[in-house]
Amino acid sequence: MAGRKRDDTITADTFLEGIWRENPVFVMLLGMCPVLAVTNSVMNAIAMGLATTFVLIGSSTLVSLLRHVIPKQVRIATYIVIIATFVTIVDYVIQAISLDLYNALGAFIQLIVVNCIILGRAEAFASKNRPLKAVVSGLGMGSGFTIALLCLGSVRELLGSGTLLGFSVFGAQFEPWVVMILPPGGFFVLGGWLLLFNWLRERKASPEVKEAVHAR
């Protein structure tokens, strides 16, 4: 990633920001609806993550290319129309590739339109930066979103049906925790991940407290 000496340089940070420090799900709590709804299996989580990443990159590119053309007053409406166009493409593509997957994800493919991450990135980043940088950042945000979906999907599938990507992990005698693949499981698992991250952050933020505890 060779950066130029301008303020639109692309650094590794442009990409990595979306994965960790500004992770859309775990840090910014955006786009919660698909995160909770389609993560009952790893396969669904991957498909949803990839679809959202595609829409994110496509709309970021177009918004960034058109950023001097779009009038300020109607920009939100324009962004939504651009996003809806890409979502319609994804919708038809998934329908063509795998009908099973399409039925499993249901209305949530079309609901990518109202995913706040995409509109938020279009408004906050793509409309102010050059296309290439917008693409890299979109890729980062999309990966961050996909990783978050995977985190939830793997825990829920592992506990809820004892499988991972359809392969049995715990063997036949495992009694699945059905609640994990039902709606409440989504809330519990995401809550659990947030607790874990809060705990890690707290530990990292106060090493002196930890030392004090150790010294006693």
């Binding site: 709590l29 955006l30 919660m32 609806c33 698909p34 909770l36 709804a37 409406a77 939504i80 129309v81 809806a84 166009t85 979502v87 319609t88 919708d91 038809y92 209305a107 079309q110 609901l111 339109v113 109202v114 995913n115 706040c116 509109l119 609640v179 039902l182 709606p183 409440p184 499981g185 989504g186 809330f187 519990f188 995401l190 809550g191 947030l194 607790l195 809060n198 705990w199 707290e202």
Partner: protein
């Protein structure tokens, strides 16, 4: 109860398949506006109004699109309808209740990106409801949204006074709470089926 009867559609949308707690639609306002009971109620009512208006408009537009063979434009036209409906509610609220308008602030325009509303329009199209059924479905979904929001706000107001471990403050605790609420609503599954 018959699956097409209006009571069934209403109860199904409001309780059995509650939009927030069973279908995961509209989680953002559910977590964002549920800190105070009063704002939760007004936000719920505003959302319900938008749902009703956009459901009726979506029904009309869908008929138009089907007649002209333009179904691929459905998503784009629905979102445009919803954005206009939100604008309408925002303007009338500014005129009739300026204090409420100020209280809701940024969350009012954000109703546009509430997936419960687009979801409602898409579901009623997928289920091929007629006009009266669509209205009943929209009213049910709106009631369900208000119910979930008010329950959550009531719980969170009480929770303000409770002492919880530092790391579980904020979103993590709200999500756990939502999980328990959702667990409770699962008890209604199979009702009337």
């Amino acid at each position: 109860m018959h699956a097409d009867s209006l009571t069934y559609i209403f109860l199904n949308a409001a309780i059995v398949n509650n939009f927030v707690l069973a279908l995961f639609l509209g989680i953002c306002p559910f977590l964002g506006v549920s800190a105070k009971l009063k704002t939760a109620v007004s936000m719920g009512i505003a959302t319900m109004l938008v749902m009703l208006i956009s459901s009726i408009c979506a029904y009309a537009i869908n008929n138009l699109l089907v007649a002209y063979d333009l179904e691929f434009l459905r998503l784009i036209s629905y979102i445009a309808v919803i954005a206009s409906a939100v604008q309408l509610v925002e303007m009338s609220m500014k005129k009739f209740s300026p204090s409420l308008f100020r209280a809701l602030g940024i969350f009012l325009p954000l109703i546009t990106t509430n997936c419960a509303i687009l979801g409602l329009a898409l579901f009623q199209t997928a289920k091929e409801y007629d006009f009266v059924q669509s209205v009943s479905y929209a009213l049910g979904a709106g009631t369900g949204f208000i119910l979930a929001l008010v329950l959550m706000a009531g719980l969170r107001e009480k929770l303000e006074l409770a002492e919880v471990p530092g790391i579980s403050q904020g979103a993590a605790l709200s999500l756990m709470l939502a999980g328990i609420l959702s667990l409770a609503f699962m008890g209604f599954a199979g009702l009337g089926a």
